[in-house]
């Protein structure tokens, strides 16, 4: 009798232990938003989508610890804090979200059904309404949490309709489909929709893989049609100091910015010639750029909470 009790207690403790370490924490980045990205770490069965050429896909659970999941969620949520979008690990939140404003990202060790890649997604599937998921395959990312978060953000960008940010030569020929960013006096950043793993990565305005004649503003594309997500009303309160001036929109005449505080700014052309300067107020700001010839501009801003330099394709 005593022996049996010990066995039962040991079994219960084992079950509790497994449960504690296997359970994915329920996390939400912005609950007021109905538009939802569901990070699925628990394994999944997928059928009836463009991925199912060979029948049902049974994806293994990620195997990540709750601490890793929490960290990855935080990193991804950070990239989407401008937008009226909830990044969740809660499947119930995904189920309640509008079918034309939701996507699921499945984190699984490998994608042998697809081939060697760190992830894959269908461009624009966020609005398809048919629950086509996107994928992050973790083995090729060495199970590195930073790489996994960057890869997931990249795939979410695709589901929201973004193409790759590419590099073209002066004749308009593509040099590389995936921009690795630049390392120079002005910038050590890479586009999230390029190769986001080795530098500080962020959304960009640039020429996408569809052609040098197109300009893709990542943030405007995410917020606008056909996603219709929009920006958070309190965006300026949630922006961190090092990212506190965001380009919201640009056209040939104006640059629209959202600033989190009072900053001085200077706008240069690529040769370093000062084009204009002034002050940015908290909230929405516009800088006239119609006087600038087309090419690359450099925006510098600085203030009490930080400073940065950003290149703009004009």
């Amino acid at each position: 009798m005593k022996k049996n009790s010990i066995h039962i207690i040991a079994l219960l403790m084992l079950l509790i232990h497994v449960n504690v370490f296997a359970q994915t924490p329920i996390l939400n980045s912005y609950t007021p938003a109905s538009a939802t990205v569901y990070l699925d770490f628990d394994g999944a069965e997928v059928d009836g989508t463009i991925w199912n050429e060979q029948g049902k896909i049974v994806a293994a659970p990620s195997g990540l610890s709750p601490a890793s999941v929490t960290w990855i969620h935080k990193m991804i949520a950070e990239h989407f804090k401008l937008f009226n979008l909830n990044i969740t690990t809660d499947p119930a939140v995904y189920e309640r979200a509008p079918v034309h404003q939701r996507t699921r990202i499945i984190f699984t060790p490998n994608g042998s059904w697809y081939g060697p890649a760190s992830g894959v997604s269908a461009i624009g599937s966020f609005v398809w309404g048919d629950d086509t998921p996107a994928w992050v395959f973790m083995d090729p990312l060495s199970n590195n949490a930073s790489f996994i978060a960057a890869a997931a953000t990249h795939q979410i960008g695709h589901t929201l309709g973004l193409q790759h940010q590419s590099v073209y030569d002066s004749y308009g020929s593509m040099i590389t489909e995936l921009s690795g960013g630049e390392s120079n006096i002005f910038s050590n950043q890479a586009p999230l929709m390029g190769i986001p793993f080795y530098k500080q990565a962020d959304w960009k305005n640039g020429h996408p893989s569809t052609g040098v004649q197109n300009v893709q503003s990542d943030t405007a594309s995410i917020a606008g049609a056909p996603n219709y997500i929009g920006y958070r009303k309190n965006a300026e309160e949630t922006i961190s100091p090092h990212n506190s001036v965001k380009i919201e929109r640009q056209d040939p005449s104006y640059l629209s910015l959202i600033s989190s505080g009072d900053y001085s700014f200077r706008l240069f052309d690529i040769s370093g010639r000062l084009l204009t300067q002034g002050m940015l107020k908290p909230g929405f700001n516009e800088i006239r750029t119609s006087f600038a010839s087309s090419g690359v501009l450099v925006l510098q801003w600085s203030g009490e909470f930080g400073s940065a330099t950003q290149k703009i394709i004009h």
Partner: protein, 147 residues
Amino acid sequence: MLLPHPMNTLKMILSGFCLLFSLMLSAQKTDPSTSLPYSNKIEVSNQALESLFQSSDLISIELAPGFQLDGKIQNKSNHGKSVISLLIRVDSRPGGMLNISRYKDTKGNIYYSGRLMKLHEPEGMMLVEKDQHYYFIETQQRFLVAE
């Protein structure tokens, strides 16, 4: 030896460039509703698209003149109350799948979206709507599916 006149050579080079440029333009157009470059565009009627959703198993439909679709429904699923999706294995494109969805809004209007592709192939087709007309545009698959 008779050398060609330099002006003639220049004309020939310029003509060659013009021909090459016009060929490039004719091969790559851009769809205004998606901003995607495409090489072919086929209009399909709403009735043809609707008939896919009325089929139960095997499908043999001419979606447009010269655009025959033969295949088998592999999966049919509902998403929420308003979306029905079909996954059709397409015989005329070995290994190819047509994934098409039908969405009915609160006013009873019906919309379709879909793509016809085989993973890792260079080209794929996407169903787009423009002014209440539906078209399959043939485009590079990297614009539809990306890593």
